[in-house]
Structure formats: structure tokens, C-alpha cells
Symmetry: C2
Amino acid sequence: MIPLTGLSDRIVIGWDIGGAQTKCAAVGPDGAPVGKGSRSFEVWKGPEELDEVLKSLGQEFCASERAVMAVTMTAELCDCFRTKMEGVLFVLDSFRRSFPSSEVWCISGRGKWKSLEEAALSPGDFAATNWRAAAAWLARSFGSGLWVDTGSTTTDIIPLIDGVPAALGSTDTERLIHGELVYTGVVRSNPDTLTDRVPVKGSMCRVADERFSSMGDCYLILGDMDASSYTAPTCDGRPADLHHAVSRLARLSCSDTDSINVHEARIMAVYLREKQIGVISEAMLQVCSRFREPLSVIPSGAGKFLVSEAARRIGLPETGLSGVIPDGYETHLPAYAAAAGFLSTFK
Amino acid sequence: MIPLTGLSDRIVIGWDIGGAQTKCAAVGPDGAPVGKGSRSFEVWKGPEELDEVLKSLGQEFCASERAVMAVTMTAELCDCFRTKMEGVLFVLDSFRRSFPSSEVWCISGRGKWKSLEEAALSPGDFAATNWRAAAAWLARSFGSGLWVDTGSTTTDIIPLIDGVPAALGSTDTERLIHGELVYTGVVRSNPDTLTDRVPVKGSMCRVADERFSSMGDCYLILGDMDASSYTAPTCDGRPADLHHAVSRLARLSCSDTDSINVHEARIMAVYLREKQIGVISEAMLQVCSRFREPLSVIPSGAGKFLVSEAARRIGLPETGLSGVIPDGYETHLPAYAAAAGFLSTFK
């Protein structure tokens, strides 16, 4: 790979290729943000469509061959791929096909930027990297803290110490073990993963092991989220509104809106929110138990309201992202940090 | 039994005979409180000492034969008694021996006052009554609400609707089933009953199934309670102070103060507090799920700080006891309400 040169007049597009969502954010040569985009795209339903998603998002920035792509991903875990290595190679190939004459760079699990061609030689090192660039960016900005990002699907809990990420895990499996990754989020999570029973008409009622509802339905019912934040298909394909959310959640107890009203659904939703905050708090405490001093929590993601509440409960102070991430880019933090971090690394 | 007469010049002493604590509170003929008392007394260690405990507490009020005893109890569940009926009869006999010439009245599981002699004919109806008189008293005072009393050992969650208690359970077993009784409290509860692992040095560590520590140790460590509220013997017999609380809690993870410091113990304690609030919230939601409208929570007991926090989390407003229970008598609510409720029933 020819060493990267001439970043002084090129935009850098950061990418966050998730299993259910693809996001990008671009910065200009001066580091100022110039735009962002996203698509709900479930990779496992038709991975061959990824090329189209990348091209269509790239076109929003008139991505010329002079644009540089800075790539992070988690989509490689989708079960349409036999292994994570196969998944990483698929994503890399899709970038090469979609932007044949662009430079494409990827961040590794150890935080190093490598060209697409280098990355393809050791694809295992480039899996599950969507938190890497953001962790480095936030560590540089805040020095120390506990960055907790609750997204639609997962929660990252990354300690930052003296300007560098202090994560113990580099693979997702290691991160799950250390409490640095919790597979729970505010939209797609299945309530079944949080509890085996819910309060219904005075009893604790066992739940149906089906995919009838998502945590996004709970947060619609509770007013914690609106439809625009419901960044995934609903379980029944019907709208992301209060009425249909109640209908979906009612089925968790094998019921329906003939027998469960909004107030009763709200009690189930409150209970599930408590369970989800509990899961996030537990992992935060696990990570904190490695350090001798309390860390200030930096919440982010669509579910940052849960993170703020968890921090309050376990007695940790909170620090906002204001001034560190441009307004409107918080929802695109991994993509923005990939672009901005890449630029500041190579400029 | 001769019908009760002449309450116009007699004091009524209300009793709350628990398994680990005996409490009493007295009111004068005009209903004004005239005193209260308590003893830490573990009935199962020597039930025959109950007579002495009753007599010594009674003497604090110069309990003459003109004093009326209004009795509630839960001590009958102690495993020194073969059955609950045997336990109730033991308590009744102890009252008769201790106050041979006093009138002794007991409240039944259905809220009816009966003389000791009548109660002895159907002892099963007089088990687990320590919440009954208080529920009736609070229902008369507040109309509707959710009375939640977290004591040293257990939590009562009693819905009050239109001036009367609306509990579904009358026996403890029924109350456990309906979420109206949760066997968890702020002093005596074993952390093992709240979780099977705790955060330690970056891992979730399994716990020792021993009686090394109590939740009272957690609340000492967190500063939620002071030594004067630690109304039970500590597990190791050493003092109820921060240093010894850390030492006891450290053993939960088979550790000691050589390897677990105060900050690390604090993280374990925060985690256990979260679990305990979760257990209380769950039962509150179970009970609330029977009603179409949200109820205002009335917290009481040594653990009312947990109840207030649980109410906040599940979005219920809170109402205080101020003006309903005389200052200083909140900690003796069942005994006070037995006395005051008895007086207002028969006066």
C-alpha cells in the first residue's frame, strides 16, 4: 500500500458497519464535520445488498476517489457468515467493489489503522472494532472516565485511563467476559433476555419465548423514546407507535389488547426497564471494580438515558459529550470518531 | 370473655412480637402516645425467655392490671415451634403468664380483635398479623395508597383502597404469592438471597453460601444506616461499624480485609443494594398490576429509604407518614397502630 498523503484537501468518511444498521459521518480536511448518514440494513437478510447501501450513502457526500474511507465494523458476527473472518473479508470486499478507486483504511482491535489490503491479510484482527476509534477519541478528550454507550442492540462499557482506553478485551468474547460489552440495547433487545416473567394482573407471569416484541416497544410505551429513534423493523412489521407497541408487548404474556390495556402494558414496560438498567449497572460495577477510584461516566448512544440513570444509582458522576462531539453527531459517534481520529492520526 | 368496658381511664399497650425483635407502644385513654419500647430477642434461641421480655417491657409503662394488651405477632414462624399454631399458642400463653390479670386482645388475619381466650380456640387465624392493625390504621388515614414497610427482615406491600386494606393474602404464604410480603429487609437479610455473584476486581465472583454478612453491613458501608439502626446481632458477633462491616462483607467472596479494601467493598455493597431495590420494586409492580390507577406510595420502616428509591424508579408518587403517626413512633408502627386501632375500635 502506498503511504497515505495529501489529506490536506480530502474528506474522510468514517464508517460503522453494524449488523442491523450502517452509519457514516464525514469530516473535511480541517476536521470540521461535513455530514452523516445511516441506513437500517439487516446484513443477514441479504448481505449482497451491502454494496448498494455503501454506494448510496457514499453518494450523499459525492464520495469521489479522493475521499478516504475509515472503516469500523461489527457486522461480521451476522450468522450469514460462517465465521467472523469470513464476515470481515466480505465487508472489505464490499468496500473495494463499492469504492474501487478510493483509499480504504480499517482500524484493528488493537487500535491501529491499516489499509484494506493489509487488513485482508489478517481479517480476525479487524472484527468488532466499532468502539475502538471512539474510545481513543474520547480518551484523548477526557483523559479518564467510563464511556458507556447504549445503542439499539448493545452496550459498550469502556474505561479510559490517563488518555488511553484501558479495555481488557479486544475480541467481543473477551469484552463480554470482562463486562466491557453487554448484549443489550434500547431498540432491538428481546425482553425475554432480561427476565423470565413479568407482572400481570397481580401475578408474576411467565413469558413467551417468541420474537413478539422489542425493548423499543417498552420505551415507546414509557415515552422514553419516539418513533424516530426506533431504528429497526418492529417485530410484527406494524408501526412504531404507542398502540402497536402495547399490542406487541401484550403478546409477551400470551395476551393481546383485548385483555391488556395501556396502563397494564406500562407496568410490564417499567419492570423491563428496571431489568435492563440492572444489567447495565451490573456490568458498570464489574468494570469499576478493577479501579481504585470512582470514574466519571460519559453516556452516549440512543440509550444514554439508561446510562445516566445507572450512573446515578451506583453513585458515579456524569460528564456530557457536549463540546467533544459536534452537535447532531452523537448518534454517529463510532463513525464520526473513525473519521476524525483517522484524520488526526495521519494529518 | 366479659366485653371490654371502661377504656376511658386505661392505657392500651400495642405489641409486635417478631422472631428477632419485640416491640411495644402505648397510648393513653385519649389516644395520645405515652411511650414505646423494644428488645432484640431471637425467640428461636430460647423461647422460654419471652415471659421475661414481655414483663420487663411492660414494666416500663407500669403496666397495671388495668392496662389492656393489643397483640400482633410474627414470631410463631420461628422453627423452635413445630407449627405456626404451636407458635401462636406459645405467645398467647406467655402473655397470660406475664400479665395474669390484664385483658389481652389479639387481631386476627381478617382484622378482627378477639380476646386471648377466644384466639386460643383458633390460633391459626392469629398468625402473621403484625401488619394488620397498621394497614387498617393507614387505610383510615390515607384512603388509598400503597403502604410499603421495609423492616430489618421483611417488606410488607399492602394496597389500601377507599379506606380499607385491599390485601389478597391473609396467611404469609398467600402474601408471598401475591407479592404482598417479600422476605427481604435492611438488617438481617443474607446477601446470598439477593445474588449468586458480586463484582470483585473486574470479575463477577460467585458467593459463599455461609452466614458471613448481612445487608446491614452493606448499608453501614454505604452510609445509608448507622450502628443504632443495626437492630440484630452481627454475623461474627463483632461491632456494627465500618471496619467490621467491610471485613464481614469481604468474606462473601471468600476474601478478607487483607485483599479487599473499603472502595472494593463499597462496590459489592452498591451492587447488593441494587439487587435488593430490584426485589422490592418487582413486588411493588406485581401488586400495582392489579389496579387500574397508579397508587401513591407510603414508605415506612428502617428501610424506607429503599422504598422511596423504588417508588421513584417505577414512577409512583410518595406520601409521608408525618401527621398520621406521632413523631418517633414510625419505627414502632405495628405496635402503635395496634394500640391506637384497638382504642378507636372499642372506645
